[in-house]
């Protein structure tokens, strides 16, 4: 039993994780492409036209997965940050740092597609609704995290300071989630409900889930690519990096 635990912790070292990440990246790209093709095919050709919203509703196939990922990535980032603070592992901080730009991208994408959707449906690019606002706050939190990490020269201190900020900011995630119930405004309620049967057509749901999987796999692939670059940058003084680059 001890054997398997040691095997896992081995990859906590950047040197061991670097080649593992390199081997995993193509698989995640392949999965992202497969889910993406299937998801786009369903969302453009299979899913029926919405009775009220016409063809314009199809933007939710990008909007909803991007919103989900922006929140989920923040949780994952906070998880790595907390792990880094608790176990003092170097790789955890690098993972948190590599996830932040992808999370910010997802938040920006979610806000942007939301605006494109809002203009024909509500007649406004932006409304001060709870979920839009909390997504904007999440975007600010990502920016703050990246700015703090960029401002501190010592990478170990940057990791730890960023970790505390990520853990403080994670308090914001439940506020985002419950904001729909707290301020009941213009934004339609959550369409997907775990306790009730979903109120949308099954094909629409499948399209959205496949696109969410595609975004998920893409995020992993990009984060792993970025963490490999960060490992090389931070470990550049070591011998193994010199050999790895050759």
């Amino acid at each position: 039993m001890n054997q398997s635990i040691i095997q896992w912790f081995k990859f906590g070292s950047p040197q061991a994780f670097y080649p593992l990440a390199g081997r995993m990246i193509p698989w995640f790209w392949a999965a992202a492409a497969a889910f993406g093709i299937a998801g786009l095919w369903i969302s453009f050709f299979v899913a029926p036209t919405d009775a009220q919203q016409g063809e314009g509703y199809r933007i939710i196939f990008v909007h909803v997965p991007a919103s989900w990922m922006s929140m989920f990535i923040y949780l994952v980032m906070a998880f790595w940050a907390g792990l880094g603070l608790a176990l003092n592992t170097r790789l955890s901080g690098m993972m948190a740092q590599s996830l932040a730009p992808t999370g910010a991208l997802m938040a920006a994408l979610s806000l942007w597609t939301g605006a494109l959707w809002g203009k024909p449906m509500w007649g406004a690019w932006w409304v001060w609704d709870a979920r839009l606002t909390s997504e904007l706050i999440l975007f600010f939190l990502y920016l703050g995290f990246m700015a703090l990490q960029a401002a501190i020269d010592d990478p170990r201190r940057a990791d730890k300071a960023g970790a505390i900020l990520a853990l403080v900011g994670v308090v914001n995630i439940p506020i985002i989630y419950f904001s729909v119930k707290w301020w009941n405004t213009l934004h339609q309620g959550s369409t997907i409900n775990l306790t009730k049967a979903p109120s949308m057509a099954h094909t629409m749901l499948w399209g959205m889930l496949l696109m969410a999987l595609c975004f998920w796999m893409y995020s992993i692939a990009v984060a792993l690519t970025r963490v490999r670059a960060i490992i090389l940058e931070r470990e550049r003084h070591t011998d193994w990096v010199k050999h790895a680059v050759e």
């Binding site: 920016l143 703090l148 401002a151 201190r157 900020l165 914001n172």
Partner: protein, 221 residues
């Protein structure tokens, strides 16, 4: 507990010797709130409607102005390191510093707010709710701000970075603080908003000194 009170007493004494620093933030609060009617126009109906929001945003910015001073001087002259080495827990000393910061930067805003609210034609009961909301909200601002101040201690461009880190975290306090007064004016009752503010304050009193201490230890490494 003695250590906490001693820290509060020390910080208040230091501030009294340099009154101008504290007064700057207070005057900033007064000037910013007075700028809005000049920019928007003197219609009493509109001003009454936006008063809670303006007073709260101004309070947010005034608190932010005082935050870099919270640890900077102690960090430069080495007092902070002595605090970290002292036998009493750093968390307690940090809590004392935050309390002193609120007494110097938060409490004057709470006391001034009713006077400034009169400028915006708020009636007596709305002023009471505004003061209550600020009384619950400004300690929350000091507590959350202390985390940001500790994280940006000795960092390049610390002041602007501090605003970027702290302002998004202030948003819930702003929503419920200004919302309390608006709900009262609309006749809905401010109880719910004030309770939520108090709940966030209780959470922050428990967690913020702890997170601030962790951030300070990182900065001192």
């Amino acid at each position: 507990m003695n250590a906490l009170l001693a820290t509060v007493r020390r910080d208040l004494l230091l501030a009294l010797r340099r009154k101008s620093e504290v007064l700057t933030a207070v005057f900033f609060f007064v000037i910013v709130t007075s700028l809005f009617p000049l920019g928007i126009g003197p219609e009493p109906v509109l001003l009454k409607k936006i008063a809670p929001g303006i007073l709260w945003v101004a309070a947010l910015l005034a608190t932010l102005l005082g935050l870099p001073r919270l640890f900077a001087a102690d960090h430069v002259d080495g007092t902070l390191e002595q605090m970290a080495l002292s036998p009493s827990s750093l968390g307690l000393l940090v809590a004392g510093k935050i309390l002193a910061h609120w007494l110097l930067c938060g409490l004057p805003l709470v006391l001034l707010a009713p006077v400034l609210g009169l400028q915006f034609d708020l009636d007596a009961s709305a002023l009471v709710i505004l003061t209550l909301a600020l009384l619950l909200g400004t300690p929350l601002l000091s507590l959350i701000g202390a985390i940001g101040a500790a994280l940006t201690l000795g960092v390049r461009g610390g002041g602007v970075l501090l605003a970027l880190l702290v302002l998004p975290l202030y948003i819930p306090a702003l929503i419920f603080g200004a919302g309390a007064v608006e709900a009262h004016i609309a006749g809905l009752g401010a109880g719910g908003h004030l309770s939520l503010l108090a709940a966030m304050l209780a959470l922050a009193v428990f967690f913020a000194p702890w997170a601030t201490t962790a951030a300070l230890r990182i900065a001192l490494e």
